[in-house]
């Protein structure tokens, strides 16, 4: 219970002025521009777009600047901004097999059509602090280029599906549920689960994915494929009636290949866990794929024994904006609530003291 109280306006406005000053830091140093954040902190921008559930690099960079680098606060700002915009419609589903690939790796096949393309990765770096980066204006070597090999880059899951060893995904024209329009209901259908995970907190998804690896609902995952690159977004405006290209966006996709014992109706085969996210977010896409597969336990006839397999536990707690709202609301005045607790405790303690006195007297 909250009570309307007045006062604090002056304190609040002074606090906000100081916030502005601390955001700026030492005025002797040049101020960060939004374009610098957008260009030089691209992975932070990508995470804010994913968790803010809104693809706009400039707005995400602006949010990071405003939030002083607090990425959950930045995602919150972006989510709030998106509610001010009208929705023109929904895109055609992305064709990720037609991705313009920057990176594509598979842990299941060494030699596969399209090959292993490392792209701009931190993998194989030594994780030693590079003091050369502390020097400004240092010359950087240009990334080498080479002849682009011809040939398609098919999905690893498709290679397995063609052999009948990978379960085909159900593909219907069903209209997916939309969490921005309807609240969660259980049991949640897979499209709704994927939307929830796609904007879920990366740390939460990572921890849950990790828990499945450590035995809490394990599903023996292999990275069938991770691909990072650009896809064209197509949209059919109602006034035109045919699809047009809106432009390109960067995305990361992960296909996790998992064992499946089979059931009465299906032979033993591999099943998929799927991860998809805006921008370059491999940890995020992989974690999402692990959790997606864990959440499919019931429909695949597996026992639900672990947190990552529990729809309500996962889907109700994945959203860091909802979570931060509820955790941080504890800072709001709870004066009356607390007074009643205090009163209660004092009454109980007084009664106990009286009883003790009586016992001693007897």
């Amino acid at each position: 219970m909250y009570v309307a109280v007045k006062g604090g306006e002056r304190a609040i406005s002074a606090a906000h002025a100081w916030l502005d000053e601390t955001r700026r830091g030492d005025p002797a140093l040049p101020e960060l521009t939004v374009a610098q954040i957008e260009q030089q902190m691209p992975l932070a921008v990508d995470r804010v777009m994913a968790e803010g559930s809104c693809h706009d690099r400039f707005l995400a960079a602006l949010a990071i600047k405003q939030a002083k680098g607090d990425l959950i606060e930045a995602a919150f700002l972006l989510r709030a901004y998106r509610t001010t915009l009208p929705r023109f419609g929904v895109s055609d589903p992305l064709e990720t097999d037609a991705m313009r690939i920057r990176r594509r790796i598979s842990a299941t096949y060494k030699d596969l059509p399209g090959g292993q393309v490392l792209g701009p990765t931190y993998d194989y770096t030594h994780r030693l602090l590079d003091f050369a980066l502390a020097a400004e204006g240092a010359e950087r070597a240009e990334a080498p280029q080479s002849e682009v090999p011809a040939g398609a880059v098919p999905r690893v899951t498709e290679l397995l599906a063609r052999e009948g060893l990978m379960q085909r995904e159900e593909a219907t024209d069903a209209e997916p549920g939309d969490l921005t329009r309807e609240p969660l209901a259980f049991p949640a259908a897979r499209p709704v689960r994927l939307q929830n995970l796609a904007r879920g907190d990366e740390g939460f998804l990572l921890a849950l994915g990790y828990s499945t690896q450590r035995g809490y609902g394990g599903n023996h995952p292999f990275v069938g494929e991770v691909r990072v690159g650009h896809v064209t977004v197509e949209f059919t405006p109602p006034e035109l009636g045919f699809p047009i290209e809106l432009g390109e966006i960067g995305i990361t996709e992960c296909q996790m290949v998992n064992q499946f014992k089979g059931s009465r109706t299906e032979p033993p085969q591999f099943t998929r866990g799927y991860g998809l996210t805006f921008g370059h977010g491999e940890r995020r896409a992989m974690s999402m794929a692990l959790v997606d597969r864990a959440l499919r336990a019931t429909e695949l006839g597996e026992d639900v024994t672990a947190p990552a397999q529990d729809h309500e536990f996962v889907l109700y707690h994945s959203d860091n904006i909802e979570a931060t709202g509820f955790v941080e609301h504890l800072k709001l005045p709870h004066y009356v609530d607390f007074q009643s607790e205090l009163e209660n405790l004092r009454t109980i303690r007084a009664a106990l003291a009286r009883e003790a006195m009586q016992e001693a007297a007897e």
Binding site: F58, L59, R87, R100, I101, E147, A171, D178, A198
Partner: protein
Amino acid sequence: MAVLARASGEEIAALMPKLPAHERLRAPETGLVMVRGRAGGDGNAFNLGEMTVTRCAVRLGETVGHAYVAGRDKRQAELAAVLDAALQDPARRDALMASVIAPLETRQNAAREADARRAAATKVEFLAMQTTR
């Protein structure tokens, strides 16, 4: 339109300094399009998240031009809508394709090509290790 959707308003304006007189049917407006993916890449559709999109509709003489472009560049949306209308006119089409669309497309293709070439340079060539017994 695909080329115009990938170019900035500034880039288009530089190639089209004289904007033909047109009437705004719908002033440039920014909104959202929900981007969809598919479960497993090829299964049922799901809502991935939204993206900002700017739209505009103009009338150029008798022709109506529409544009929907990713992002919030209002100038880009209006120029794309004007060009959409102008390109429907056979009398102007060839000239505009040569002076505006072709140079933008060349630039975009070069950027994509460079990206593809950088990716190709990171493709792994496996070498069999000598096994020792």
